[in-house]
């Protein structure tokens, strides 16, 4: 049974359409990440699911029941806000138990539930404190605890980790994943961080300008991006995009650089068609035997630790490659990169759509 159905949801503010028809169906226990840059409508969509904003059209169903007319408290959801939104005047214990208190759960039962959640999140020692006496990470845990304690059907997260520093963010990310594996509750998570999306999601919806660009598993998003936008949004450093023109079974990249057109695309691409060739930096190899090769002039070499990021130029086009850190490469050097055929992505230059 699907836990959450979003059917043709639209949202307009006056003339401006921020959501242009969103359709997503989530199975129970899925972890959906809404990924996009700011202003793409992902937070609006989350607020519509939560009932904090009204949809201009379409329907939202939780557990098969339409909830658009229901008050947020009656939707069987819990939400974790970007700013945590803890109640500053109440103790941590009461913050976590507030939802149960409002639902008139007896004090003893409430206390047991709060302590259970606190134990799970390792914040038992903080229960008597006020939010102002907590660190950022601890506040985040309290905010998650407040959502957990109610055992809702769907969890909503609105960029919950974006206020934490990098190290803490990684820890909490792992923790969230662990929680999801343990609780197996349906979760909807909004973020603009592609690493969070890739690591947490069972499915990612990449959003842009109020539309879903691609909805798929992290592997699909990474390995078969449907559009140029998705291709550049996921992955760091981003996918290399090279302008190219098909010509006699070759992809011409510049004055004297070209790659053979992979067999699979031969009958789909006419000569003279303007295309964009996408190659992930990590798909480029130094081993010339690995596949078709292109040569480039190295401009900058950056060692990040686990890998060597090489920026190079092919004629007037730039290309980045992530190579093993031991590679001996210097600026100015002429290198030959090999690419496997199935690591090549081909997009139409005008529509930006993937050529299957």
């Amino acid at each position: 049974m699907s836990a959450l159905d979003i059917i043709g949801v639209r949202k307009t503010y006056g003339e401006i359409e921020t959501l242009k028809g969103i359709d997503i169906a989530l199975e129970s226990g899925e972890f959906l990440v809404l990924l996009g840059s700011s202003g793409c409508g992902k937070s609006t969509l989350l607020n519509i699911i939560a009932g904090l904003a009204e949809a201009s059209g379409g329907d939202v169903r939780i557990g098969g029941r339409s909830v658009l007319a229901a008050h947020p408290k009656d939707r069987d959801i819990a939400m974790v806000f970007q700013s945590y939104a803890l109640y500053p005047n109440l103790s941590v214990h009461r913050n976590i138990g507030f939802g149960l208190e409002m639902r008139k759960v007896p004090a003893a039962e409430r206390d047991r539930a709060v302590r259970e959640v606190a134990k799970l999140l390792q914040i038992e020692a903080l229960l008597d404190r006020k939010p102002s006496q907590l660190s950022g990470g601890q506040r985040q845990r309290v905010a998650i605890g407040r959502a957990l304690v109610r055992k809702p059907q769907v969890f909503l997260f609105d960029e919950p980790l974006s206020n934490l520093d990098a190290k803490l963010r990684m820890e909490m990310r792992t923790e969230l994943k662990r929680l999801h594996q343990m609780l197996k509750t349906t979760m909807v998570y909004v973020t603009h961080d592609q690493i969070e999306a890739m690591t947490l999601a069972t499915r990612i919806a990449v959003m842009r300008d109020g539309r879903i660009e691609q909805l798929g598993t992290p592997e699909e998003i990474y390995n078969r991006p449907a559009t140029l936008y998705v291709a550049t949004f996921v992955g760091a450093p981003p996918m290399n995009l090279l302008d190219t023109v098909a010509d006699g079974g070759r992809l011409v990249l510049g004055d004297n650089a070209a790659l053979p057109l992979p067999q699979a695309w031969k009958d789909r691409v006419r000569d003279g068609r303007r295309l964009v060739l996408g190659i992930r930096p990590e798909a480029l190899q130094l081993d010339a035997a690995a596949g078709p090769a292109i040569s480039a002039t190295v401009e900058v070499v950056e060692l990040t630790g686990p890998e060597l990021v090489v920026s190079a130029s092919i004629g007037r086009q730039r290309i980045m490659a992530c190579l093993p850190p031991r590679s001996r490469i210097a600026a100015g050097q002429r290198l030959t990169f090999a690419v496997e055929e199935d690591a090549m992505h081909l997009f139409d230059a005008e529509s930006g759509l993937r050529i299957a």
């Binding site: 939560a50 009932g51 904090l52 008050h71 947020p72 408290k73 959801i77 819990a78 939400m79 806000f81 970007q82 700013s83 945590y84 939104a85 803890l86 109640y87 500053p88 005047n89 109440l90 507030f98 939802g99 409002m102 639902r103 006020k130 939010p131 102002s132 006496q133 907590l134 950022g136 506040r139 407040r146 109610r150 206020n163």
Partner: protein
Amino acid sequence: MERRSLAFSVFIHMAALLLAAVILAPLVWLFVMSISPAADLSAKPLRWWPQTVDFSRYALLLSTVANSAGAAFTASLRNSLLVSGMATAAAIALAIPAGWAVSRTPTVGWSLSLVIATYMLPPVALAVPLYMGLSALGLLNTVFGLALVYLTILAPFTTWLMKSGFDTIPREIESAAMIDGAGLWQTLRIITLPLAAPVMATSALFAFLLAWDEFFYALLFTSDQRAKTLTVAIADLAGGRVSDYGLIATAGVLAALPPVLIGFLMQRALISGLTSGGVKG
């Protein structure tokens, strides 16, 4: 703190002392006048410090013998407390829902601007219509009538103050409470109002002071001990052929005490920063 030279520290302290002296000098002089014998106050050259300390005026003003100056004064003290108290309580009671509504619904902000605009009208312009209105309602020379008039002055002011107070409370906190299942009233009572307590106290204090110090309307709309407020009563003291400056000063000292007391009581509530910690930063 950064290091400072001794000379700079001395300068800072001197400046603070000077500021305190400038602010406190009139109050000190008021008190000195209130305990000086009448002769000292009219002596030439002026005696800055009384030869004998005389507290008899305090006894005179606080006596409750019928038809005495004391009876008039204590009646006006009671009236002032009643009028200011009622007007302030009503103004806060109005300002909480009104300020909250405007803060959370920016599209109706124009209505508050409109109300604030009426605030710009000089009291003189409103005096005649208000007088006729109160007269028609039979509220002239009553504490209720005066409190009602003061409410028209205080409510826009407190609403505006409360609105800016509510603006600083993140809406997400209320959204969270809503998802947690709290009704509007519960959200206000348990979450929003405790967070708005400092600004509520500030509004109440300023509203009370505004009502306490009001003179013009009080002079127009009250005529005897049943409703006359302190400001009018003090003016009456100066109105006769012979003005006892010492008596006026004594009345001034007594009139200043209640607001000072309230200020002290509210000091704790006035400490802001209670909202820190709920959201990031």
